[in-house]
């Protein structure tokens, strides 16, 4: 009771399956008379061209690349940073005529999803993704690129100057005269968010978090300070959830004059929290983000932040998948963008 297949059409038209296949794939090499006979048969049987499933097996190429993101696929459409990366990937896929498949890593069945995803290559975007997932993806032996995470020798990755960027951010505050600076960290593990401690962040599962923290530390050291002196708070990365927590943090540390955020979403949440507490930014509290997402330029006041080329990151990663060169690591530059959330500390 299923639909007709190519061989049915061939039989109905009285030709071999090879010829029928040609009618659909290289119509120019089959005689007009035969072609129209086959086409008529196809129409009669309600056959609309070869099933991609069959072709795939033979051809071996899916013509799509898979992006494994956080455990919640919807994040790819919500988180500003991820969206920027995705746009870069999407642009390159469009250019190559390839599809884009999102594969989630929902705990329950991440293994299965990754093992069975129909893709020609994987881009693993680190944020919230852990090593087990990466290993799984690598086992597929498909072209593989890691974002923001060096996945061991022999695999390609695209990184940014996390440490330098963080140092830039901290140095900016220090040069303005700040000495009591707090740090807002992204989730250090898949889960996250318990009574934060410096050690926990330093031991984060994510390289970029460790690097950014180290960058902060580096700049602090230049001014005779240490990370131990900087109160640190680990957050979810979800504005609604985070703002109140930051509020409490500010209440607990009234001496802070500035906050270093490991991501713009955290800085923007901090901006809300500060306003909610009646603090003026930057007069009472300076804020530096990281990423330079679109929203950073449009907040009130606009956010001072470290710009990273997220869009290009996506593009580069996709290109590495398509171009299939030997494994290499690409390091993208960052820069400080001074807007209006930073100023000299209050007296």
């Amino acid at each position: 009771m299923k639909g007709a297949k190519l061989s049915d059409v061939a039989k109905a038209a009285g030709v071999s399956s090879g010829t029928a296949s040609n009618v659909f794939n290289r119509p120019e090499i089959v005689s007009p008379e035969v072609r129209s006979r086959v086409e008529a048969a196809a129409r009669r049987l309600g056959y609309n061209g070869p099933d991609p499933k069959g072709r795939l097996l033979r051809a071996g190429k899916v013509n799509a690349i898979g992006v494994v993101t956080s455990d919640d696929t919807a994040d790819a459409f919500r988180d500003p940073y991820t969206r920027l990366v995705m746009r870069g990937i999407a642009k390159e896929c469009d250019a190559r005529g390839a599809g884009l498949a999102l594969v989630s890593t929902k705990q329950s069945e991440s293994a299965w999803r990754i093992q069975t995803a129909l893709v020609d290559g994987f881009i693993v975007s680190c944020y919230k993704v852990d090593d087990a997932v990466v290993a799984l993806a690598q086992e597929r032996k498909l072209p593989f690129v890691a974002l923001d995470l060096d996945a061991g020798p022999g695999t390609s990755s695209v990184l940014i100057e996390d440490r330098r960027g963080a140092a830039l951010a901290a140095r900016h505050l220090l040069e303005l005269g700040h000495r009591r600076i707090g740090i807002l960290a992204l989730p250090t593990k898949g889960d996250c968010h318990s009574p934060t401690g410096l050690g926990r962040v330093q031991a984060s599962a994510f390289r970029f978090i460790r690097d950014r923290l180290a960058g902060y530390g580096e700049a602090l050291a230049e001014h005779g300070l240490t990370l131990e002196q900087a109160p640190i708070l680990e957050l979810h990365g979800d504005a609604e959830h985070d703002a109140p927590v930051i509020g409490e943090f500010l209440a607990a540390h009234p001496d802070l004059t500035a906050l270093l955020a490991m991501a713009d979403i955290l800085a923007l949440a901090a901006l809300d929290a500060a306003h909610a507490r009646g603090l003026r930014v930057p007069e009472d509290l300076s804020l530096v983000g990281f990423d330079d997402v679109a929203e950073a330029a449009e907040s009130d006041p606009p956010l001072t932040t470290i710009a990273q080329p997220a869009f290009e990151k996506g593009e580069t990663a996709a290109r590495m998948i398509f171009d299939q060169g030997p494994p290499r690591t690409e390091l993208l530059p960052v820069k400080l963008v001074v807007r209006e959330t930073t100023a000299a500390p209050r007296k």
Copy 2:
């Protein structure tokens, strides 16, 4: 020189291919002794489990649904409305453990892409997508759901009360006392944007545009006005591009006291344009959007708009694909959300 396949592993382990298959798919039914022998062989040959390509053909299910969006895949990560819909779809896919594939309709090869996409079903999101594409997708004979567009009898679709929503928007302005109202329209065709005329919009390729226009007209009629009296402007839907055009439009029609926008992005662009021209909103110009995207609540001032359940729209569409019921049409409700971009007209 290619990787080992299941039958190689089976041979190496001295078992039948069927047994080898079971080791990977239903390990519990194969004896421990044989299982470990097969696993050892697999490891020795560097075999990491069955290739999904092979499985697919047999199983027939890809376990992913395809979303055909505009010609630019990156739009799915940029446009606020589309993102909301995508999030709804993504959520449902996650819940069902299915993948999500974006298939673009880039002019050059849209046909090929749609015909060969490896998916179990299609959701076609109308905005900027034309009929040819829809027809192509339907030919695949896969579960199919159209968004914002009734694709003929026998196909499922999810719609919203476009006409009623538009009428609500217009009525709101009229009741505030506005009489000189301009209309901002979305692209009426794949291309768009020429010297706009009412007729062109009324003949739009997209049902939801025609309906929204009709809704405006309906409300105008209640107050003794007609669409002919309302200046109309067709836009791209790209803030940067649109704002200046709206500026010129406002300059050309200085008597307008309000603007009805068919989408929030247009209204937000209008907000920028108004500010750029030194017009105060809502004192000098009232604005009503459509969609109620996240940004609408956060603009300055917050946008009065027609809320539509875009997230649920995505969810519903995905659910229809998965649940495979008979074709049906779901109509989702809209409502007026009054914020701060509307007020009585200036005297």
